[in-house]
Each structure stands twice: as C-alpha cells, then as structure tokens.
Amino acid sequence: MRETTPSVRPRHAAGASSRGDGLFRGVILALALAIVVVFVLALYQLVAGSLPSIERYGFAFLFRTTWNNVTSEFGALPFIIGTLVTSFAALLIAVPLAIASAVFVTEYAPRWLAEPVGYLVELLAAIPSVIYGLWALFVLKPLVVQLGTWIFYQPWIVQNPSLKWLVPSNLAGLGLLTAILILAIMVIPYTASVARDVIRLVPQDQREAMYALGATKWEVIRSAILPFARAGIFGGVILSLGRALGETLAVTMVIGNDPKIVSGLFNPTATMSSIIASEFNEAVNNLQRSSLIEIGLLLFVISVIVNYVARLVIARITVGGTS
C-alpha cells in the first residue's frame, strides 16, 4: 500500500477495481460496437451492390420470374420460391424425426443407448456441407432416380398419351426432392438436440401429474411433456430453419440450378443461395452481378424476418418462467 492514511485503503482498493471495471466495460463496449459496425457495413455493401438492379427493376424484382443472362433479364421469384419451398419442406420432414429422436433418447432409450445416439445426432451438425453434398450425389440421387422411375414409368402412364405430360422431361435425380431430402437430414440435429435438452428440463411433477390421472407413457409424452417443452422445441425448429434457409453448398450440388420456378418434385430448380454460389463468379455483366447481390440482400431480409417472427411466437407460447 502506498497510501499513508489507513482510511484511504478501502477507497484505493475500490478505485483499482473500478478502474479495472471501467477498462473491461470499455473493451466490451468496443467489441459490441464492432459487431454493430460489421453488421451495418455488410448491409451497406449489400445495398450498394444491389443498386443497379434495384434501379433497373425496383420492387418488381421480387416478382419477376425470368432469369436469363443471354437477354440480361433478371428476377428473384424462382429463387425465393425455391428457398422457401426447400426449407419448409425439409422442416416438415426433419421436425417430426427430430422430435421423435429426442423423445426416444430422453424417455425410452436405456442410458447406454441414449448417450451414443444423442452424441451421433449432434455429430450430424459437425459434418461439413460438402460431405453431405457428396453423399447426396452418391446415395440420394440414385434413390430419387429409382423412385421417379418407379412412379412415372408405370405402363399406364407412359402408354397413355393424355398423361404423358406428367412424366418429367429429364429424370437425372438432380432437383427439388433431392435438395429437400438432404436439407432435411442436415437440419435434424438442431431441433433434435434442443428438443432433447428442453424435454429433460420438464419438471418431474408435470409428468407425475399426468400419470396420476391414469395416463399411459405415450399420453404423458403427448399431453404433458411436449406441450410443456413446446417453446424450447420451437426455438430448435427456428435454428433448423435458419440453417435450411442459408444452406448453400450441399443444395447447390444437388438441386440442378435451373433458374426457373420449380415445376415438380423431380425437376431441377434453384434457391437464393444456390444461384448466387453457382453464378456469381461467372456473372456476365454488371446487372447480373448486381441482381445476385440483391438476392443476397433479400435472403438476409428473409432471415431477419423469420427470426423476428420466431421470437414473437416463442414469447407467446413460452410457459411462464421456464425455457
């Protein structure tokens, strides 16, 4: 202690720690501001890059269906539809599977099985997209071709001229269905692991209350556990949706990247991220590049809106004081 008067000691100590606090607060504030700055800069870059296409097409860009780099006509609708359809269809498949896996792991599996299964599901989230893409090409694509052949090449369809339009022109296995399936697999772990955690947090007294009314195990799960955990599970679904909306590489590898509004489960189309990934480097002119950037901006906006709506929903369905 350098101070001579003892009465200063506590004040000195307080001074040192509050100086440390001040420094710490400054650093935290700077980091927080840096995040805001990066966010604003990114948004600014997107808007600035989109300007040529915004000036050219205005609001109508969202609803234009042509994407033609020969005639230099661009519009975002096929990709907006592609992104929304693949993402929500993938969720439709993934969410029930994810919840089922969470219920299995928490309520049914013996511990020696629950641990490894839970771990494996989480591991799915750590696999790089490109691996999923390759796996989809090698495994899913042939399966989709088989399924398509089986469905459409029934004699009564092929031999009937009035039904012939049903048959996809090209059954290469690259298209909407393959993209949906691979996305579904990729987004399962987010919902599954969040659902597992929130189901574990459902208080024992909720389960017992339902059992005491004469419920079977399944009824307890359906009527007590899942409703109680629903806000948390929905949060997991939103994580999955975020992943699905933004997933680029695996989808680009299997969706066919045909810039047309999707016309069938087995037909190729494109999503917002897949069209950016597949065309940006070969963009033939400024307008195309700018249109691609604007699609990026729209994807950003859609993601923000989805997250905002999700927050509202979660706040509405949250059980008082929990999750």
Partner: protein
C-alpha cells in the same frame, strides 16, 4: 365396515435401502386418514406405493400386498387403471401450464376418451364445485391455469383429480405451500368430499390432522408405530413415541 384399501406387510426399498417396513394398514371407505410423522419417516414413500407411483422411480421396489376393494393392485393389473381409481394431489400445485383452467380440470377425462363438450363442461363444473373453486373461476375457464393464485391452483389440481371420480384420493402435504386462508378452504373441503371419496392425506400440521381426519397413522423411521381413530391418537395414544410426537416433544 370392509376396508376399501388394505396394506399387508408392505416393504418399500430404494435400491438396497428399506425406507418403509412391514406396514399393515386398513383404510375404511368414506373416511379421511392422516399420515403423520417426522421428516424422512416414509410417509411419501408409503403414499406413492398406493397408486403405483414407484413404478416411475428407477430403483424403487414395493413388496407385500396392497388391495383395493380386494384386488391386488400389484397383481395382474394395469397400473394405469389403478391410477384412474386412486387419484393424487401433490405437495406443490402442478397444473398443466400450457392448458386453460377448463382443460386442466378435464385432462383426465380426455385421457379416458371423453370428447363430448357438454359432458366435459358438466364434469368440470361439478369437480370445480367439489373443490370449492367454481365461483372463483367460472368466468375464466378459458384463461391459462397459470393465472390462478397458488391456493387456487392447488384446488384446481384437486378438481382435476376428482374429475375422473377416483375411489381414493391421495394428498401429499397438499397445503404446505399455501397461505392459511387457502389451507382453511382445502381443509373444509375434505369433510365435504368424503361422502364421495376416501382420502389419505400426509401432513406435518398436527392441528390439520386433528381437524380433518377420522383416523391417524403415526410413522417413525419407516415403521408404522400406531394407527387409530384420530381423537384417540391425539388424546390417548398407546405408544409413548406417538404421544411425544403429537404433543410436539420431538420431530
């Protein structure tokens, strides 16, 4: 009168540890029966054996026989059907927070497959009246159950348990989390209820046991020390350990 519930040589174990020892107990229909004793003596453990709640606790094991109307509840029966006949109210009010008041009350009926709205409303009103809650909630049946006060929530849980018309209602310290007023309401309830249902209640409150019950069983470290009419247990116990407990000398 023939007992509705009969326990013979009931032993309950958690793993290797015996928590309840050689209990013999008869419960007459349409009575209120208090289980008292110091903390950790096995009241909850015994109570939960009566509706097979221990099936849910890994490692818990019940030996001996417990019969309901002469039928062994650990025999060749579905525990689910036993729990429909023996309802339970827990220490902490546990309404289903995502359901409305009405849905909470009729949750057990819906499990039983009753869907008709008229029937559900009718039973809900009857059960809520039995639980002395109807007047307070009749205008908010469709609001979330979590909006009720703690005392109201506990009465809601009682109504929920009563809605499936159980023969026996088990209550584990149902008023320990409540204020004196709510406690008094629930105590008043019990004497009204016993014309419909047999009640077994665990309580730490001697006055409550004395006020509401017809018989009292005194537990001590896993043993049933004494069981008898409540006035006798409180005024003239046979065992001196019972006497020192009810007079507040230990526990």
């Amino acid at each position: 009168m023939n007992p509705i519930l009969r326990a013979r040589q009931v032993n309950i174990y958690y793993g290797d540890k015996r928590a309840v020892r050689d209990i013999d107990l008869d419960i007459a229909p349409n009575t209120v029966n208090a289980l008292i004793g110091p903390s950790g003596c096995g009241k909850t453990t015994f109570l939960r054996a009566l509706n097979r709640m221990h099936d849910l606790t890994p490692g818990a094991r019940v030996e001996g026989t417990i019969t309901l109307d002469g039928e062994d509840i650990y025999g060749d029966v579905d525990p689910v059907s036993i729990r429909r006949r023996i309802g339970m109210v827990f220490q902490k009010p546990n309404p289903f927070p995502t359901m409305t008041v009405l849905d909470n009350v009729v949750a057990g009926l819906k499990l039983a497959g009753i869907r008709d709205r008229g029937t559900l409303l009718e039973v809900a009103e009857r059960s809520l009246r039995q639980a002395a809650l109807w007047d307070e909630v009749k205008d908010r049946l469709n609001t979330p159950a979590t909006g009720l006060s703690g005392g109201q929530q506990q009465r809601l849980c009682i109504a929920r348990a009563l809605s499936v018309e159980p023969e026996i209602l088990l209550m584990d310290e149902p008023t320990s989390a409540l204020d004196p007023q709510s406690t008094a309401r629930i105590e008043d309830l019990m004497s009204d209820l016993k014309k419909d249902v047999t009640i077994i209640i665990v309580t730490h409150n001697m006055h409550q046991a004395a006020r509401v019950s017809d018989t009292t069983s005194f537990f001590l470290i896993g043993d049933l020390v004494e069981h008898g009419p409540t006035d006798q247990i409180f005024t003239n116990p046979r065992d001196e350990r019972t006497e020192s407990y009810v007079t507040g000398r230990f526990g």
